[in-house]
Symmetry: C2
Subunit: 431 residues, 2 copies
């Protein structure tokens, strides 16, 4: 089995990211006898995970649990090798094994992941393992210009139509939405997010805005159309830039929105507003000071800025599987680490807001749409790809819900700028 | 002259803090001839300060300026030694020389200080001097229990009636107020501050609150009276504790407010809310982790916390004169440094708000009242003391206005607590 998996690895998919091999519906049943060794390993695995209310169903249908609570999910283990791999590095191998169907979850995937995330956060053994792995494998990511292009291409250039299947339909926002009220649709919440950011930036007609990393350009168009701003947006994903330009043309915004296919480090010009939504995660720890230099170089003396990024409460690597398969080079910084952007040039942090529950809700909307289109996605790519992305979305819900990931919005300005709103009340006045 | 000053130092005052010597109205005029050396030194001093629009008036009434803008203030220099001392360490010596009357300011003191603060922030020579002094003199403050008591006694035990002369009359709040609208009275703004903090903490009837450092106990009484909370407040200033207890008794709050004369490191018990307003500045950089340990030990799993503290955009020592004469042991931390409180125990920062302009306004109210009572204060202490405190208040206005000091309010909770308000809108709904 393990050999088959190795053989299949990377052969059936022709685009990154990969689910770690092909999904084989016709996996032959494992012939390994379920001995007391495997029962012991299964219990050991549950113990490592902090004994969550789940069970492991071995390949002979034998069910093992170490919890006396009612079960949230059953984990079907296809073969003995799965147990070995999970014990060695659960965070890394679970994703690949799930993607190819050697692990199957009976029950709600996101609920299962939340349960496990909560349990491991309290498991001394798991924490020890994670610290050891962080020490062993931590290498500050070196997002040089070329590297960055490859990393970004890996994730964002796999087809705009793929993202159109599950993101909001209006602005194709692939970042945390803002729900003034929790029952909004994802389209409403993404619009609210863009307005919220514009308010935090005090955006007004004629403002020159520069955006570092613009996705499919939705925020830039919103700023131009709704606020009369002149926006220049940088992005190194060609497919996103082409899409963004087409949309701007269709909306008659060619004169006020300019999409530049280039790296944020090459930003030029002077701007009243600097904004970057969901890029800092890809910038790499070594480059926060460089980003600060860029902002310093481009922002006017009364300029305002906003950084929106996934983050952490304490330093920790990105989940190994996500970093490997989904987001190469990604690292969610702590607030302490983010201060590298601000301190050298005496920027003043005005407002930090943690919106992690809004990201859990955003991801919930995405996953629901993704699941509705799962067959289509499977046809377009393959089953392993579909399962890998489903896992990534469900895992992210779990991470934001259990507090392992944060979403920080940081508003800032130059330290000497007194041209500031007196309070934050205006952010919450209805339009 | 210099000898006289040294001789007088510390002899005429019997309470700390001292203005660096007695104010001598009858200072003999300097006999030093105003040679070209002193003219050169005066210009050198103005140049070091970044050539602000001020003039130096030497002891022979000769006026020197290096700015061609209209002057904000004239600085009267009593004698040649003043020039020497200012050139060696302006931040340290200005305060003492001003206090004893060897420097006099013609013009508005706060405006003069703002002008100088703005200028030095842009003066390469001054920045170089400051960096050198920070390197030379930086010693992480060791606020051990005994030490802390001395430092706090120095500032807060100089007489409640002194503070009653210029703080708000209702709650005697010696920390930044919050002005929902800038034209509030200081009493209204301090009440608004307390309500704002209670809202940020989601305070509700029956909540058990612990407060680290409580001043004269106004917030604790407000929380008990207006929100039905049970508050235990720690403070090592005996005079403040005695005052707070008396007030609570008068208000019939003895059952719900408990003032403990002890250090925050000795806090015991379990609480739904942890709050500390204006104490972190006195805690010392080495103790932020200790404070984090205390919060971890005492906060329930769904507990909420708020830290309100003066801060910096980048690391820098407290102004040397203020640290020496007014606030021994004080250090305003950066956000990065404050993260020491949160990271070890995975607290989650929910909200950071920078209220520096509110502190400038608060200090404006204080200084106005202080000046109205200047004669009374001079009688009660002496002229040097009065001038030292006036300078400290005016200097603080300048520091907050020019962005050299910040005021951070940080709301936090445990990383796993999802029992959070959905947005911040409720903070701004009128009561």
């Amino acid at each position: 089995m393990a050999k088959d998996f190795q053989k299949n690895k990377g052969t059936s998919l022709n685009i990154p990211p990969r689910g770690g091999g092909a999904y084989t519906a016709e996996l032959a049943p494992s012939r390994a006898r379920v001995s007391s060794l495997y029962r012991w390993l299964a219990r050991k695995l549950l113990d490592l995970l902090g004994n969550p209310p789940i069970s492991l169903v071995l390949w002979n249908a034998e069910e093992i649990t170490t919890s006396d609570q009612s079960l949230v999910a059953r984990v079907h283990i296809h073969d003995n090798e799965v147990l070995h791999q999970l014990l060695i590095n659960p965070a890394l191998h679970f994703g690949d094994l799930y993607s190819v169907g050697r692990i199957k979850i009976e029950g709600d995937l996101a609920e299962f992941l939340k349960t496990v995330y909560s349990a491991i956060a309290r498991s001394p053994k798991y924490i020890k393992l994670k610290i050891a792995q962080t020490r062993l494998f931590y290498r500050p990511s070196q997002n040089r210009l070329l590297n960055s292009r490859e990393n970004i291409h890996h994730h964002y250039d796999i087809g705009n139509d793929f993202y159109e299947l599950w993101l909001d339909r209006e602005a194709l926002q692939y970042t945390c939405a803002y729900f003034p009220s929790p029952d909004l649709t994802i389209e409403e919440a993404q619009r609210a997010k863009m307005d919220y950011i514009c308010r935090k930036l005090g955006l007004k007609p004629g403002d020159r805005v520069v955006e570092a990393g613009c996705g499919w350009g939705g925020l830039a168009r919103h700023m131009a159309k709704q606020y009369g701003a002149k926006v220049r947006s940088y992005n190194i994903s060609r497919q996103q830039i082409l899409y963004a330009r087409e949309k701007a043309k269709a909306d008659g915004l060619e004169g006020s929105v300019d999409y530049v296919e280039d790296d944020y480090r090459n930003i030029e010009g002077k701007y009243d507003v600097f904004v970057t939504i969901g890029m800092l995660e890809h910038v790499g720890r070594d480059n926060y000071r460089v980003l600060g230099d860029v902002i310093h170089r481009t922002l006017t003396s009364k300029g305002r800025g906003l950084i929106h990024s996934i983050g952490r409460n304490k330093p920790e690597l990105m989940n190994a599987w996500i970093e490997k398969r989904i987001f190469p080079g990604a690292y969610p910084p702590t607030l302490r680490e983010m201060m590298d952007v601000f301190e050298d040039h005496e920027f003043s942090v005005l407002d930090v807001e943690n919106l992690r529950m809004h990201y859990a809700k955003t991801l919930g909307h995405w996953l629901e749409r993704f699941n509705r289109n799962a067959d289509l996605i499977e046809q377009k790519f393959d089953r392993a790809f579909m399962r890998a992305w489903r896992l990534y979305l469900a895992g992210s819900i779990a991470a934001f819900t259990t507090g392992s990931l944060q979403l920080f919005q940081i508003s800032f300005t130059r330290g000497t700028n007194n041209n500031l709103p007196w309070t934050r009340a205006h952010l919450y006045e209805s339009l």
